[in-house]
């Protein structure tokens, strides 16, 4: 190789704080060769995004500034640009032209008020001085390049008319519009479903091969690194912990932090041959004490029968119901005492709505829910409020589920107060006890959520759920938003609490490797229906339904030998659970494959719908 495309040396980025400037990133150096995929991997707060954003001088928009270091970019014309010294006008020609950017959230990176065609043409007309016709022609070309079917029609559509995966492809097309020599992708697949993630990653690799653009991929996910990277930069606490070719870093990590990070990634198949869930091995922290096996009881705690929830879609004259979104359709399952049942599925599968229906935070249309001998749907609102004492919920996003204006103390004692379980100073004692339980320092009780990291917040959410000593905890994607090392700790904590207090979990998730770790039984949901239900072992060793197999195949692995070189790109929009008003769904029929293993053989057939297209 001759000169590298990007050269970063001794980068130091500082941010203002109450005690003066603090360094977000210190002494960071890396290079990107033309046509190379470099992954910066690290957890939140490690400085990985800051390092990449500095290349486009985007850090200053969040108050930071480059205090030291050298940043150069080799331009298309052979000149070298000093990215640190470039003025705003120069940067505008670099952004988009030399460096393209792919953002995390395809929902928010596109302007909802303009058509796809308008947004694509905008940058072409700006940077390339194209006429409107030329820009439209180039837009179609770009959409073809990112494998979007019927590109001509897409140009006239608005972002909300497209699925998340399609939208992310549009964002990629926009980044490619001016043929940049470097693409910066900031967690491009974090907000997407696993099956879509595999597609997008494959697409980025393909585009790299076709256009020769180098890619700087920012991610927290080691599996994404294994799938994508040529070289890896591992960041921790604003410093580079380790850097090198991907084979070397993944198979023979030298830095203890890299080792811990790799150990914390749950791997599919780790639990093969084991009947009960087990805590994860974490390097360095041995704070998980489970002394007895997680054996479920024999009495059913929760029994859900034929649960159905449809959201009416109103329209037309006098806003009649013109269609129904069949969020949950004839779902039946049960949960034993001290057992973990995982509801698995991708977004829109109805798994979260099922959880909300059980707590009656959404009112089901029909069905039966029996919890601990009580018929929940027969309860009055006040009886239901009291029944929630025994059934608590942990939500996915610890940034959203904690009230930003309440101190943590108040939030943790909230259920105690509402159910009148404690009063006066006993409230604070109990809060302190709960914080000990989830291993948060008691001094945190006076803080507000914004002063905590994501993992700490989720611990608060768990402490709060534990406060009334519930029998059932519904964990809705409770670890999906967390960094892997924290995810492992939180999962271990949940299992530890189960062993100790006999809690049952309804674990709602999409990450098959995590699900394999924690569950006794698994129910796979697709388009509002359970398509397969079985013990953990049966699902992972012998998946029967097409959709379960797709889901398992899409899980990215750390295995370098199995890089997804060829992943078929879906060209049809995913099938929708929205049906016209009079639609009567086919009755469900389950086939018994083995003892406790049932597969849906009628009604849905959804996995077949996915397969059409080239």
């Amino acid at each position: 190789m001759n000169k590298p495309l990007v050269n970063v040396e001794g980068l130091r980025v500082e941010f203002p704080s109450k005690r003066g400037a603090i360094a977000g990133v210190r002494d960071v150096s890396f290079t990107i060769e033309p046509g190379e995929i470099v992954c910066i991997v690290g957890e939140s707060g490690s400085g990985k995004s800051v390092s990449a954003y500095t290349l486009m001088q985007l850090t200053k928009f969040s108050g930071g500034w480059v205090a030291d270091g050298r940043l150069t970019l080799e331009c298309g014309d052979g000149n070298e640009i000093d990215l640190r010294a470039a003025d705003e006008a120069r940067m505008r020609t670099i952004r988009g032209n030399e460096i393209g950017m792919i953002f995390q959230e395809p929902m928010t990176a596109l302007n909802p008020s303009y058509t796809i065609g308008w947004q694509l043409a905008e940058s072409l007309q700006q940077h390339r001085d194209m006429s409107r016709e030329e820009a439209a022609g180039r837009s179609v070309e770009l959409l073809k390049q990112v494998r979007i079917p019927e590109p001509g029609r897409r140009l006239k559509q608005f972002p909300h008319e497209l699925s998340g995966g399609m939208r992310q492809r549009i964002v990629i097309a926009m980044a490619l519009a001016c043929e940049p020599r470097l693409l910066i992708a900031d967690e491009p697949t974090t907000a997407l479903d696993v099956t879509v993630q595999a597609e997008i990653l494959a697409l980025i690799r393909k585009l790299r091969d076709e256009t020769g653009a180098a890619v700087l991929l920012i991610t927290h996910d080691m599996a994404v690194v294994a799938q994508m990277a040529d070289r890896v930069v591992v960041m921790h606490d604003g410093l580079v912990a380790e850097a090198g070719p991907v084979e070397q870093v993944l198979t023979d990590p030298q830095d203890p932090y890299t080792q811990a990070l790799l150990a914390a990634v749950p791997k599919l198949g780790d639990m093969a041959g084991k009947t009960l869930p087990e805590p994860m091995e974490t390097v360095g922290t041995t704070d998980c004490h489970i002394d007895k096996p997680l054996q479920p009881g024999s009495r059913a705690l929760l029994d859900v029968k034929h649960l159905t929830k449809r959201f009416p879609i109103r329209g037309g004259w006098l806003s009649r119901t013109v269609a129904n979104a069949h969020a949950v359709e004839d779902v039946t399952f049960h949960l034993l005492e001290n057992e973990t049942l995982s509801l698995v599925g991708e977004s829109g599968s109805g798994k979260s709505v099922t959880g909300l229906c059980i707590l009656r935070l959404e009112r089901p249309d029909s069905g039966e829910i029996t919890f601990d001998g009580q018929d929940l749907l027969a309860h009055s609102d006040e009886e239901m409020r009291l029944a929630r004492r025994d059934m608590q919920m942990i939500f996915q996003d610890p940034y959203g589920s904690l009230n930003p204006h309440m101190s943590l103390l108040e939030q943790v004692i909230e259920p105690l107060r509402n159910f009148k379980l404690e009063a006066g100073s006993a409230l604070e004692d109990r809060a302190a006890e709960l914080f000990d339980r989830v291993r948060l320092p008691r001094t945190f009780l006076r803080r507000h959520p914004s002063e905590l990291s994501g993992g700490q917040r989720q611990r608060v959410a768990i402490a709060r759920a534990l406060a009334p000593n519930p029998k059932l905890i519904i964990a809705d994607e409770a670890v999906s938003a967390l960094d892997v090392s924290i995810q492992a700790e939180v999962l271990n904590l949940m299992m530890e609490l189960q062993a100790e207090m006999g809690i049952s979990y309804l674990f709602i998730g999409h990450d098959m490797a995590v699900v394999e770790r924690v569950s006794h039984r698994v129910a796979v949901m697709y388009l509002g229906r359970i398509v397969e239900t079985a013990t953990r072992e049966q699902v992972f060793a012998n998946p029967q339904h097409e959709y379960t197999k797709t889901l398992l195949a899409a899980v990215p692995t750390l295995d370098l030998a199995h890089r997804a070189e060829r992943c078929e790109l879906a060209t049809k929009p995913p099938p929708s659970p929205i049906h016209p008003a009079g639609y009567v769904p086919e009755p469900v029929h389950f086939e018994k494959v083995a003892e406790g293993h049932f597969v849906l053989r009628s009604g849905a057939g959804p996995a077949d719908e996915r397969k059409d297209g080239p």
Partner: protein
């Protein structure tokens, strides 16, 4: 995810920071020159209102026909100095502004506070509970908003008689709808927030969710509307006083002063300009201070105001 979308902020927060002290607040205010001046203006206004008897240079109703219609910075026949000039009866404009502030500021504050109180309760509960109750409240709001408020005010004040207390009552009745409509929208948006769903899952009652969980999170926009309403009410008071149903002359109020000065606007611009400026400045400063208070009390935002370094305080 909220946290990773702005990595820089994540990096810059030092979670070990201790609580801010009063000194931190004052220092943050000192760095923000515009807000600091606004706060000083409001403090001065309060001081003048409270101590009008001692601080005003002249008597508010003291006629001095010899010194009629003097422009600002003039000295009268008897050597009296008039900072902002005099009106058509020779009364000192500055003194009347100070006394007028009493009526105007208290009508504005009390009227806005009362209508805010009722409007926010009605709006938040309507937005959270929904259903028939929401329909009833919001149709009432629509109905009352379509009434010509000045006419209704005139009618009611005609029956009840003018004066300070009745004025405030009428304002509360005619202005709560604005707050109700806004709060309802805010409650609707907040209702689907995860922390509200979480509160419900934790067994919080409806009332507790509305006032303990939703209200603190929607205070910011309500506060902005509140400061705007104060200015609007000061002006409404002016119209009503002008028509003879508000404060009775010769007691001064800013609105009454504008109304009186209107007929002399060609010859004596200061009679309208200074009361108008007083209303404008009061509203502006209230707004500035309110938005600053909102920002520094927002747990997720306030670090910016206490951060030391390049250009904190954004």
């Amino acid at each position: 995810m909220a946290g990773s979308s702005n990595p820089a902020i994540e990096d810059a927060i030092d979670p070990r920071d201790e609580r801010e002290t009063l000194r931190d607040y004052l220092r943050a205010l000192g760095r923000d020159k515009v807000t600091a001046s606004a706060a000083l203006f409001l403090l001065a206004l309060l001081a003048f209102t409270a101590g009008a008897e001692f601080l005003a240079p002249h008597k508010p109703t003291g006629l001095n026909l010899a010194d009629r219609m003097l422009p600002p910075f003039s000295t009268g026949k008897k050597g009296l100095f008039y900072l902002l000039g005099t009106d058509e009866l020779g009364r000192d404009l500055f003194t009347r502004l100070i006394y007028g502030a009493r009526v105007s500021v208290s009508v504005g504050l009390l009227g806005a506070t009362l209508s805010c109180f009722f409007g926010v309760i009605a709006g938040l509960t309507a937005g959270y509970y929904g259903g028939l109750y929401e329909d009833l409240v919001m149709r009432l709001v629509d109905g009352m908003l379509s009434l010509p408020s000045l006419l209704v005010a005139l009618f009611v004040l005609f029956i009840l008689g003018g004066g300070f207390a009745n004025l405030i009552l009428v304002f509360a009745v005619l202005h709560w709808m604005v707050f109700a409509r806004m709060s309802r929208g805010l409650a609707l948006a907040a209702r689907s927030k995860t922390y509200v769903v979480a509160a419900k899952a934790m067994g919080a009652s409806g009332r507790r969710i509305v006032f303990r969980h939703i209200l603190p999170n929607v205070v910011a926009p309500i506060l902005v509307l509140y400061t705007l309403e104060i200015a609007i009410l000061i002006l409404s008071e002016a119209s009503l006083s002008f028509l003879g149903f508000g404060v009775q002359p010769p007691d001064p109020s800013w609105g009454l002063m504008i109304a009186d000065g209107r007929e002399h606007i060609r010859s004596a611009w200061w009679l309208v300009a200074f009361p108008g400026l007083a209303i404008f400045l009061t509203a502006l400063c209230l707004n500035l201070v309110a938005s600053w208070v909102r920002a520094v009390t927002d747990p997720a935002q306030r670090w910016r105001w206490f951060a030391i370094g390049s250009g904190g305080g954004g």
